[in-house]
Assembly symmetry: C2
Homo-oligomer: 364 residues x 2
């Protein structure tokens, strides 16, 4: 086997090696059944146990009360950009959205096709997605069905460190694709959370949704069955064949989180990794520049610039040759980015900062 | 390792052992990259090669002309039950559907939410889904945007052996989920084909679509982006993160088909397996009864009854204990069913007919 790469991909992203080894070990024969998990019926007892375990682990790790239901769907978070407003504001009802980045923008674009969508705050209007607005910057409508936020902005490297307070009776709805389960948080203000798995939870191919029953009671009727979120809740995500393998790997990642100390331990590890990287950037302000306002920096996606684009290109090329993968910034913003999700080991971040310091010395 | 089960699951279903071994072998390190395929970016060169190879193999095996585009989406064939009519008949346009089984019924139910849907023939009206209508039984509208068929009825065990002829200028649209690639066919009458992978193509989590450009030109505008089939065609199924792993395994299954003689060889093998099973059923008409009209029998899903339900229960239980998995008929129809897709070896069908004969002798 080749040495394992230091994987800073933004998603699909690094998975825990322990999980990959388990998957490999049981790939031909799942629990003595004589069949791969890929060949098991989604209506059989073996898969059912995996499905229910994945849901139970989400509930346990997050401390969910029983009025929340965990749902698994295909189609990515992009599908939820339309399904969530389709279920909640079809017919011109109101929803407020905070625009903090490119993915929030996409969510807003889809929501506008269904109802009365207003921007509680538009970071773009400031010229660049470099911060998360504070509570007093938000213009909130008390009669909105929900307030939508994107808790971490993968491309721009910004993240909410405290969630906004919505008006009384207005639930938060959040796209947590790139920072779900990075640490513990209070789920109670949230009526609905959705997250594509391929960043912090598992492989591409499944989206996890956490939906509170009282919000589900507001879902509209008459939608195509596959768009009907209530149907998926009622059928325990088994209305049709779910993405079995992606859920199976996600269950293993959740077990891994639990085995390694739960969300408290994840937070500690993640903060240490992020500190190591941001400290390196801040220690050399003439060479490394993080465009994000300090109070809004993401602990999952760290973005920075070098003195010029030629050096950035060189950095990407040479880091790759050194076994550091995925450091090129998103094509829409340029620069450099390291995605340091739960499964990225501290040693990878250490290798990165060593490479950065070395690169600076050679190309100063 | 436990002995490999004889897997007759209706889907997710058996996969070729060769494919599973390849997946296992490279699970920790895809092509010397130091990363699992599960950790590769969908925008990277390594995955791109897999993606394009899967498309190219579909085109090669089916003999598609360049005016067809292969698209991969999540959400299962059930998602296409609404996306296809949403893209083609929104606003009250016409489509004809042939109702040949439970899945066709579901497709019809969703299509009615978008346009003027008429039943070209309703097998259900005859009392049971036991046959495929002949051409002269179809009532076809020359101004329909398309004629929809379900080429194989997984639950009821019926299958088209010749496809219907639509009126001039009306393309066929087909759900081929449970018999896609079971043999060669002429794709030219088809404007659009969709198939959930988890029966004949690969694992659950991806749906393959084959779309002809002239039909795509009729797609409506203004849909949510993820519902916009033209968008997925234009973006080469990379508008958002595709279900990477499911596409990767599907590519391996397609390679396996090619390596083992292509669709001609698959057809030969499949016909031999089906003959062995149907011959056993027909040889003992007092004990085994296939409810399907002979000319409409499926080569993929073989259904039969025993003299009574108690015996059927016993059969399911004892066959399972003997390592024959997935023989229980669908909960909506009862009886027994063996799904004998491409990847089910002849030896499994042989084991099944031996078990059947033996069971009959003991419980005659």
């Amino acid at each position: 086997m080749t040495n394992r790469a230091h994987n800073f991909n933004p998603g699909p992203a690094a998975l825990p090696l322990e999980v990959l080894k388990e998957v490999q070990e049981e790939l031909l024969d799942f629990k003595g059944s004589g069949m791969s998990i890929l060949e098991h019926s989604h209506r059989g007892k073996d898969y059912e146990a995996v499905h229910n375990q994945a849901q139970a682990l989400f509930a346990e790790l997050l401390g969910l009360t029983p009025d929340y239901k965990v749902v698994f769907l295909g189609g990515g978070a992009s599908t939820q950009f339309y399904m969530v407003p389709q279920n909640l504001i079809t017919g011109g009802k109101k929803a407020d959205y905070v625009n903090t980045g490119s993915w929030a923008e996409k969510a807003i674009k889809e929501a506008k096709k269904f109802g009365d969508v207003a921007l509680a705050h538009d970071v773009k209007a400031s010229g660049g997605y470099t911060y998360i607005p504070t509570q007093d910057q938000l213009k909130l409508r008390p009669d909105a069905v929900y307030l939508h936020i994107t808790t971490n902005n993968t491309i721009e490297g910004t993240q909410y460190h405290a969630f906004p307070q919505a008006p009384a009776g207005v639930p938060l709805v959040a796209d947590m694709s790139s920072d779900f389960l990075w640490r513990k948080f209070d789920p109670r203000p949230f009526g609905l959370i959705y997250a594509g798995a391929q960043k912090n939870l598992g492989p591409a191919g499944v989206t996890a949704l956490i939906i509170r029953q009282d919000l589900a009671a507001k879902f509209v009727e008459g939608l195509p069955t596959m768009c009907n979120l209530k149907k998926h809740m009622d059928e325990n995500s088994l209305y049709n064949t779910p993405p079995v393998f992606a859920i199976y790997v996600t269950a293993k990642v959740l077990e891994w989180i639990k085995r390694h100390g739960g969300l408290e331990a994840m937070e500690k590890r993640n903060l240490e990794k992020a500190k190591l990287l941001y400290d390196t950037i801040d220690a050399h302000p003439a060479y490394f520049k993080c465009p994000v306002r300090k109070d809004s920096r993401s602990m999952m996606n760290v973005v920075w610039r070098l003195p010029n684009e030629q050096l950035e290109e060189k950095f990407v090329k040479e880091s790759k040759a050194a076994g550091l993968v995925g450091l090129k910034g998103h094509r829409s913003v340029g620069g450099l980015r390291a995605s340091i999700y739960n499964a990225v080991p501290h040693a990878s971040v250490k290798a990165l900062v060593d490479f950065m310091t070395d690169f600076m010395k050679k190309n100063g």
